[in-house]
Symmetry: C2
Subunit: 466 residues, 2 copies
C-alpha cells in the first residue's frame, strides 16, 4: 500500500503499528467503543505530523487524532471500518519552554497533563487544570475537548488556560499561533475555534499555556447541607466572602457518598451521612492561618444562617487529600456498583435545584426504583447526574432497554432549564445524535459551514461531533 | 429605491436616516475616517435586524454595524462610496435579565457599557469591563472588538466576560447562543468566533455576560520605579503576594506624565517626576484595612528590594480617583500636545523591557528628536507606545511624511519580540494592510475560508479586517 509506505518513510517503520495488538489505541477508556485502525502512526514532531496529514489527504485516508485516550465520548478511537488512521501524539511530549516572567509555558500536544503541572511546580508556578485522568491524559486532548475539572470556578476551562496554539491544518500546513500574549486582536480567534473541536478541524500539535503563582496555602473543608438550594446559597456566600480565592466548590449527593461508604469502607468520612455534602477549596495568597481563619468565619456564618448543619475544615494536607479522595471515589464506587447511565450536564446555577427536583421526580415516575447518583462541580453548574438501575435488576439488560429513554428524559429537562447536555466531556461519537437533534438548525448550519471550509475533504475525525 | 422602502417598512421611516447631517454616524471617533452612508438604519429589536439583513442580502447592500462609534481603527463607519448601510444598534438598549444566583446578565447589544456596569452595581454585583469610552461605547461594540481596558489582568478581555451571544447571521437568521453556562462543550465555540470579528461575520444583537461579587474594598497605589525591568519585577512580586486580588497594573512613562503635568497643572501628582510610575489596584474580598495592610507590606518589600524608590497608597476613594485620573489624562495631554502616532501593541511581559530599550533607540536613531510617550496596561503586556513628532516641527506634515515608516519600524520590532501589532483596538480599516502583511499565509487562508463560509456574499463590513 503506497500510503503505508509513505507514512513509514515519514515517521519510521517502528512508529507505524498495524499488528493485531492495538487495543490500547482502538478501545476507548469507558470500553464503549472498540474500532479497528488502518494503522497507528506515532509522529515525533510537528513537521512529521504535517507530512502524515498531507499523505492522508493525498490518499483520502481519514485521521483520528489521539492523545492519552482518556476521553469519555468515543472521540479518540477509530471506527470499525479499518480505514481510519489513528494518529497518536504521545511521542510529542516535550516541554518546549517556560517563561516565568510572562507566566507562560509552551508544550508539545502530547505532554501528559501531570507532566505539565509538575514542570510548572518545579518553577514554583501553577498550571491549574486538574482532572481525574491527569496522570495519563494529554494537554492536546485537554484542549481538543476543552476539558473542565475541579478548578474551573476560579481558572476556567482548558480554553481559558491557553494563550496560543500550534495546529496542523487539514491541508497539512502549520498554523503557528503560539503566542504568549494576554491581548491580541488581530483577526478571528482561530485558537478558540480549534479548542473544543475534537480533532474535526485540525490536529493540535502544541500550545502556550497560562501559568499562575502558586498559592501560599490551600484550605479544604466539607459542609453538610440539607438541600441543593442551601448548597447554592452557600456558594453565593462563599463567593462573596472569598472572591477569587474560592477555587473549588463540589457537591456530593447522599446516595453517591453512600456508595463510597459501602464500597470503600476504609475511607474515613469526616461528616455523618446527610442529604448533600459540599467540598470547598480555597487558595490563599497569604498563609494557611489566613486561609483557615477565613474558612472558619465563612462556615460559622453559614451555620448561623442555617445553610449548613455541620462542617469539617481540613487541619492538614492529608486531611484535605482525604476529602478530595472521597469526591474522586464516587465514579469508582459507581462502577463497582455496576453499569449506569451517565450524564455530564450543565445548568445555570440558579436552575440547578429546580432542575434536580423536577427531573428526580420525573425519573422515579418513569423508571421506578432507579437510583440517582448526583454529584459534580456545583460552582460551575456542572452536575454528573447519573442513573443507576434499580437494585436487583440485570444492569446490562436494563441499560440496553432504558438508556435511550432515560437520556431523552434527562436531556429534554436540561433543555427546558436552559442547560447543556454536554458540559465538559464533549460530543464525540456518543452524543453526535444529541447534537444533531438538540442544537438549533442555525447553529448546526454555521458549524457545518466552518467544518466544510476548513476540512473540505472531510478527513478530520469523521463521524465525530458533526 | 426598493431597498430603502423595504427597510423603512421594517424599522419605521423615522428610524431610517438619509439626510445630510449624519456626521455622528459617518465619522469615526479619532476623526481619521469620514464616510458616506447609503442610509442610517436604527432597528429596535433582533427581529428587525434579521429583516434588515435579509433585505440587504436580497439587494446586495453591504452592512456596517455600529454601536457607540468609539472604535479607534475605523471599523464602524461606512466607506466613502455611499453604498454601505450604517446599521446603528443604539436603540436596542434593554437590560434583558439579571440572574444574581447565576452571576449573569443578558443584555441587548446596544446597551452602553456604563449602563451595564450600573445595572450590575444596582444588584451589588460587578461587571468588570472598564475602559475610557465606557460612557458611550456599547457592549455589542465591546464584544465585536474584544475590548480590553484596565481590568484585564484579573478578569480578562471582553471575550472572557461573555458566556453567551445572540447574533444575526449574514443570511439574516438568528443564532440564539444566549446561554448563561460556565461549561458547555456542544460543538464549535461560535461565540468566540463572532467575538472580535468586528462585524465582518454577523451582527451581534445580544449577550449574556459574567458578573462578579462586588469587592469589599479597592486599594490603589502609585510607585516610582527606575526602569521597565523593575516594573516587571514589581508586577511579579505583586502577583505572588496578592494573587487574583491584583486587578490593575498600569505603567506610565516619565515623559507621558510630564505631558500631563504640563497640560493639566491643576492635577496633583502624588509622586515627584521619575522614570516610570506604576499604578497598582487591588480588589479585596475582606475589608479596606486588609487591602491597605497587604498593599503596604507589598510596597515595603519592594522598597527593601530596591524595586521602587517611592510610593503613595491612596487613603481615600478620592485619592484613588486622582491616581486613575492621572493615568486617564495621558491620551488627552497627548492630544493637546498635538498630532501623534499611536501604537496599541502587546508583548510577552518578559520581553517588554528589551523591546522598549531596543525600539526607543532605533526610533531615536531613525527619527531624531521624536518624543516617546509610553504607557499602558503592563500587567497584560499591553503598551500604548506612541510617538510624538519633534518639538517645533509641523506635526501634521511630520505625520504625513513619517507615520508609515515609524509604523513599520515599530511593528517590525514588535514582531521580532513575539508581540502583537494590535493588542486591544483591533484591525478595522486602519490596520488592514498590516494584517495582510504581518499574519502568516496560513492564518490568513484560514480566516478567509471562515469569512467566505459565513458571509458568502461579502456584505458584512467589507473593507475591514480581511
Amino acid at each position: 500500500m503506497i500510503w503505508l509506505d509513505e507514512v513509514r518513510a515519514i515517521v519510521g517503520a517502528a512508529h507505524v503499528l498495524d499488528g493485531d495488538d492495538l487495543a490500547a489505541y482502538e478501545q476507548d477508556w469507558r470500553k464503549r467503543y472498540r474500532g479497528r485502525a488502518l494503522a497507528v502512526v506515532r509522529p515525533a514532531s510537528t513537521q512529521e505530523v504535517t507530512a502524515v496529514v498531507r499523505a492522508c489527504a493525498a490518499h483520502r485516508v481519514p485521521i483520528v487524532t489521539q492523545g492519552g485516550n482518556t476521553g469519555l465520548v468515543g472521540a479518540s478511537v477509530p471506527d470499525s471500518s479499518g480505514t481510519q488512521v489513528l494518529l497518536s501524539l504521545t511521542r510529542m511530549n516535550r516541554i518546549r519552554a517556560i517563561d516565568a516572567a510572562n507566566l507562560t509555558m509552551s508544550v508539545d500536544a502530547g505532554c501528559v497533563l501531570q507532566q505539565v503541572q509538575e514542570a510548572a511546580a518545579a518553577q514554583d508556578l501553577l498550571f491549574p487544570l486538574s482532572l481525574a485522568a491527569e496522570g495519563s491524559c494529554t494537554i492536546g486532548g485537554n484542549l481538543a475537548t476543552n476539558a473542565g475539572g475541579t478548578q474551573v470556578l476560579r481558572y476556567g476551562n482548558a480554553r481559558e488556560l491557553c494563550l496560543g496554539l500550534e495546529v496542523v491544518t487539514a491541508a497539512g500546513e502549520v498554523w503557528d499561533g503560539l503566542t504568549g500574549l494576554r491581548k491580541d486582536n488581530t483577526g478571528y480567534d482561530l485558537r478558540h475555534l480549534f479548542i473544543g473541536s475534537e480533532g474535526t478541524l485540525a490536529v493540535i500539535t502544541g500550545a502556550t499555556l497560562k501559568l499562575y503563582p502558586q498559592p501560599a496555602a490551600t484550605g479544604t473543608a466539607l459542609a453538610a447541607v440539607a438541600s441543593l438550594d442551601d448548597a447554592v446559597a452557600l456558594l453565593q456566600l462563599a463567593q462573596s466572602r472569598l472572591g477569587p480565592s474560592l477555587t473549588g466548590f463540589e457537591v456530593m449527593g447522599g446516595y453517591a457518598l453512600g456508595l463510597v461508604r459501602q464500597h470503600f469502607p476504609q475511607l474515613a468520612q469526616p461528616l455523618p451521612p446527610c442529604a448533600w455534602t459540599v467540598l470547598l477549596e480555597q487558595s490563599d495568597s497569604e498563609s494557611m492561618a489566613h486561609a483557615q481563619a477565613l474558612f472558619e468565619a465563612l462556615l460559622e456564618t453559614a451555620l448561623e444562617r442555617g445553610l449548613i448543619s455541620d462542617a469539617a475544615v481540613a487541619a492538614s494536607l492529608e486531611q484535605a487529600k482525604t476529602m478530595w479522595h472521597l469526591r474522586e471515589s464516587i465514579p469508582l464506587a459507581q462502577s463497582i456498583e455496576g453499569p449506569n447511565i451517565k450524564h455530564d450536564i450543565a445548568l445555570p446555577i440558579s436552575a440547578v435545584s429546580a432542575f434536580a427536583a423536577s427531573t428526580d421526580a420525573a425519573l422515579l415516575r418513569a423508571f421506578p426504583g432507579v437510583r440517582l447518583v448526583n454529584f459534580g462541580h456545583l460552582g460551575d453548574g456542572n452536575l454528573h447526574y447519573n442513573v443507576q438501575p434499580p437494585i436487583g435488576t440485570d444492569a446490562d439488560a436494563y441499560l440496553r432497554e432504558f438508556e435511550p429513554q432515560v437520556n431523552t428524559l434527562v436531556y429534554d429537562a436540561v433543555g427546558q432549564f436552559g442547560g447543556s447536555f454536554s458540559a465538559e466531556h464533549g460530543i464525540g461519537a456518543l452524543k453526535r445524535n444529541e447534537l444533531a437533534q438538540r442544537k438549533s438548525a442555525v447553529a448546526l448550519d454555521l458549524m457545518r459551514a466552518i467544518k466544510h471550509a476548513l476540512d473540505p475533504l472531510g478527513l478530520m475525525n469523521p463521524g465525530r461531533m458533526l
